[in-house]
Symmetry: none
Subunit: 179 residues, 4 copies
DNA sequence: TATGAATGAGTGTTCATTCAT
DNA sequence: AATGAATGAACACTCATTCAT
């Protein structure tokens, strides 16, 4: 968040790079070269490094964007009536759209960068998810001894499992339900 | 299983390299350099490449070794009396000792190499696991609509989840139990 | 002939690398290392590979440059009056200045790359040489049963012979003259 | 020429290595690896290095063997009646069987090793060739102003030319004949 | 004497990052 | 602000040579 807002074209470049980077990392893994991203984004390599001074910072930004998307989804579901549906819709939705995102998440988790993510956004996600979870637990749809932390871990795990062997998510989500 | 058995010292080197590679890949990820492995194993870089002519072949060998270990554990549990305990002991044990193995598995899965693993060993694992599963299902300890494929996917997923957030495995295994 | 013309400094570097490569290959043979070329050209190794993405492409470029030079010489002689002098001047001139070029030519011939040379340039050389030859034959200065192919083979051979034992070229060229 | 004659099996190994090396260098060029030669010769790499302590010494030995063969051919032709036929038979024969030998000769010439060849053998070749040449000149079949040195250079050149473009050797040999 | 495992300097090539234009 | 040429450390891999078996 720079003090001075970016010039319009600079902002457009930044967005295009971010978007391209997400696609490229998803397609080729996080070892994809920065040049490849620049090429596909239609900008010079120097421009990428002007916006994101290291490759790691680009990865972080991509992850932050991903988390922002999740936070928005969770936020949106806060308005739903049925707490059970809200919670499981979120869970299933995330997992099903996660394939492309795994590569990024893995690399970042491995690099210990995950926790470094812009904490405001992460906090928003965590808060929204906490509310979804609490309500679902209150409605008796989710075991009481589960916390946000566990849910997030299961999200990652389920994403991985689905990538490995397409399977009914019910096998995993049933573990969340009360005995 | 080379045609001619290796000389004693060569075999020792091969084992040391394999063991070191497992540790290094676990610690630094599969992008760790071959030189680093050679250094820690206390051998020259040429020796690593004599035993494993490409880095990928080294990764494969490490994975094969891992799978061999799992197959042995599963085999050993085939002799147990209690089918429920046998199955869940295996599941939990694998996940708990899996941290180190995740990096390797991921890389190989990504490279599509996983299936190329010495199929005899993989077959042995699959067979033993199938038996453990069947017996547990017969004893009413595991849902009937679960197959070996799903169990393996859940193993990977659970390993990943535990790595992410230490948590009671019960959350995951309960998904396997009958409703 | 790149689509977009190189920046002035980049073009200068490219030329310097090409020129250095010709000298180095001539002096040390084509197994000379790319690093050595970079060092002598006063550029980083990365710069060499930016301009010539493989060592083979660098070899090809050097050869193409050589062929271009020959084609220019042959072209220039097309304007001469005396067909006999024109032909033999070309032949002798090429051989006498060829010492340095042998290493490159050999390697390329060996790699079967020779024919892959930018065919426009090679064609120009072949065409000019054909004219020189024809005129010389018409003037009774060269045997009629000789073709361009034979002349080129003799050029290579004579270059090699001269490198081996400095000798009067007359011994070789006399083979071209009518009985 | 070791003081003590080699044991029978050692001598057999030496010969096999030499013969294999000639074939391998001819087929793959002199950059063929020593291991490849050992493999094809059916001996261990250590055995190759016991007989020829460096790769260069192996190249030298191969060349010496080649020269020995030529010397024998020249010697044999000393008994012939027709001096013209004797000389040109030698010349043509050498060139025609030379294809395989070029790689070796080139490498050695390039390395300045050529002159280091076992001078006894080289001397024998030179002497026999001198006699063949003298007689042919005496019989009026070869120009008088040509020396052994020039003939050898032309042999190399012609071998090269033939490799490049199969052509009638007459084009080259006619340069040797009197005007 | 023969073997082949071990060695490590050297090679071609890639890529994150810097900087002149 | 944008570009892309330049840089050089790092990597996977090769190979002549040495040495323990």
């Amino acid at each position: 968040m720079p003090a001075r807002p970016l010039r319009a074209d600079a902002a457009r470049n930044r967005a295009k790079i971010l978007q391209t980077a997400e696609a490229v990392f998803a397609e080729l893994g996080t070892s994809a070269s920065t040049e490849e991203i620049a090429r596909r984004a239609g900008v010079g390599i120097g421009t990428v490094f002007r916006h994101f001074p290291t490759k790691e910072s680009l990865l972080e930004a991509v992850l932050a964007e991903l988390v922002r998307g999740l936070a928005e989804e969770a936020d949106a579901l806060l308005a739903a009536d049925d707490p059970e549906a809200a919670f499981f819709t979120f869970f299933t939705g995330v997992v099903q759209r996660s394939t492309a995102k795994n590569a990024v998440m893995q690399a970042l988790a491995a690099a210990g960068v995950a926790t470094a993510t812009d904490s405001d956004t992460a906090g928003r996600l965590r808060a929204a998810l906490a509310t979804l979870l609490e309500r679902a637990q209150h409605a008796g749809a989710v075991r009481a001894d589960i916390g946000v932390r566990e849910v997030m871990a299961l999200l990652v795990a389920a994403s991985r499992a689905v990538e490995e062997a397409p399977m009914s998510l019910e096998v995993i989500t049933s573990g969340l339900r009360p005995a």
